[in-house]
């Protein structure tokens, strides 16, 4: 378990988190390589299915990073994203994957250091939670197949 490196997908708004990541890079601030960033035009672009599909495709954790509340370029995109994230958390609880593997965070484009901090916090949280139950199940069935079934 100590060697577990979580796969984390971060859906980042073009106007804030994506730029903040860029700034973190320019400032030479390290953040975990576990984060796979996907640029979206606004956090409000996020769909329930997209979040769930990330988990189905093997993510151990997912987060959506939108602008600070009140600062959305499209006015309410980040508010809507948060509501969708809350709904998907409940669905993940129902499935048994656990809603705590999904998070909504708010950043501004000037928060390069904070972007790296969030990436570290979420990576650590998912590391403590261990692999997604879906990945655990896949690993078990993989081992059974390897053992000559």
């Amino acid at each position: 378990m100590s060697t577990f490196e979580p796969k984390i997908v971060a859906f980042c708004c073009y106007y804030c988190a994506y730029s903040a990541a860029d700034l973190a890079g320019s400032l030479r601030i390290q953040y975990p390589a576990n984060i796979r960033m996907i640029e979206i035009p606004c956090s409000g672009k996020i769909e329930h299915t997209l979040l769930l599909t990330a988990f189905e495709e093997g993510a151990d954790g997912v987060y959506v990073a939108g602008c600070m509340e009140g600062d959305c370029h499209y006015l309410k995109g980040n508010i809507r994203a948060r509501k969708r994230v809350e709904r998907v958390k409940k669905i993940l609880d129902e499935i048994g994957i656990g809603g705590e593997r999904l998070e909504m965070v708010n950043l501004s484009s000037s928060m390069g250091p904070r972007f790296a901090e969030v990436a570290r916090e979420i990576t650590e949280r998912i590391r403590l939670l261990g692999p997604s139950p879906l990945n655990r199940a896949a690993a078990v069935s993989g081992k059974e197949e390897d053992s000559g079934r």
Binding site: L52, T53, E56, E94, I95, G96, I97, A137, A138
Partner: protein, 222 residues
């Protein structure tokens, strides 16, 4: 529109526990409008079911589609090509759609993914309220366009009752008293005299008390 509410994932998964391939079928009618059974909800349910089953080590294959309407035979006919190898159909339509699929494809298990709630409308995005009780004999012309059958908790025709207080119903303080609404509406329209009319006992045989209903229009029969 018909308003429906999704069942829990556990209940739906329980219906299809032996299936290896399911067709998740949405409906493009009322349930798309009330955000519970259109293509988006089909995709959410399908991915949820796949993950639930993968987690249990019993993977399931899903086929996703949304018919224009599940309550029309012409559209239901079109889904026959999707049924190959399918053990079960999960319908996100209202109870009508589920029954239409089950009638047309009797060899396949068809299960509902929703609880059909009522006939109503959207009062604000994400909130739906009941507006019609399907009583079969509309009296809205006399009641200022407000239905006492479905909006009064007791369905009384000569209200309000003693449970009306400050314009609210005793059953739920969030529910306006239908008869207060009717009074205010008729007053606004200068038609308060309408309230002197005493409604006779309602003939419920035109509603569900007369058994399952059927409506025939001879001139459009083919």
């Amino acid at each position: 529109m018909i308003v429906a509410e999704p069942k829990s994932l556990a209940e739906i998964a329980g219906y299809i526990k032996d299936a290896k391939k399911v067709l998740v079928m949405g409906c493009g009618g009322c349930v798309t409008v009330c955000l519970s059974g259109g293509q988006k909800e089909v995709d959410i349910l399908a991915v949820s079911l796949r993950m639930l089953r993968a987690k249990e080590g019993k993977p399931i294959e899903t086929v996703c589609e949304t018919l224009e309407r599940q309550c029309d035979k012409e559209y239901v006919e079109k889904m026959s090509t999707l049924l190959e190898g399918v053990d079960c159909v999960v319908s996100l339509a209202c109870g009508v759609g589920v029954q239409y699929l089950a009638e047309r494809y009797p060899e396949v298990l068809v299960v509902p993914a929703q609880n059909t709630k009522f006939i109503g409308g959207t009062t604000e995005h994400g909130i739906w309220e009941e507006r019609c009780g399907l009583c079969g004999e509309c009296i809205l012309a006399s009641t200022g366009g407000i239905c006492p059958i479905i909006r009064c908790s007791k369905s009384i025709l000569n209200g309000p009752c003693g449970g009306s207080s400050d314009g609210k119903c005793e059953v739920n303080p969030d529910t306006p008293c239908a008869w207060t609404l009717i009074y205010e509406q008729l007053k606004r329209q200068g038609r308060l005299a309408n309230l002197q009319e005493v409604f006779p006992v309602k003939d419920w045989s035109k509603s569900r008390d007369g058994g399952p209903r059927k409506y025939v229009r001879e001139d459009v029969l083919l």
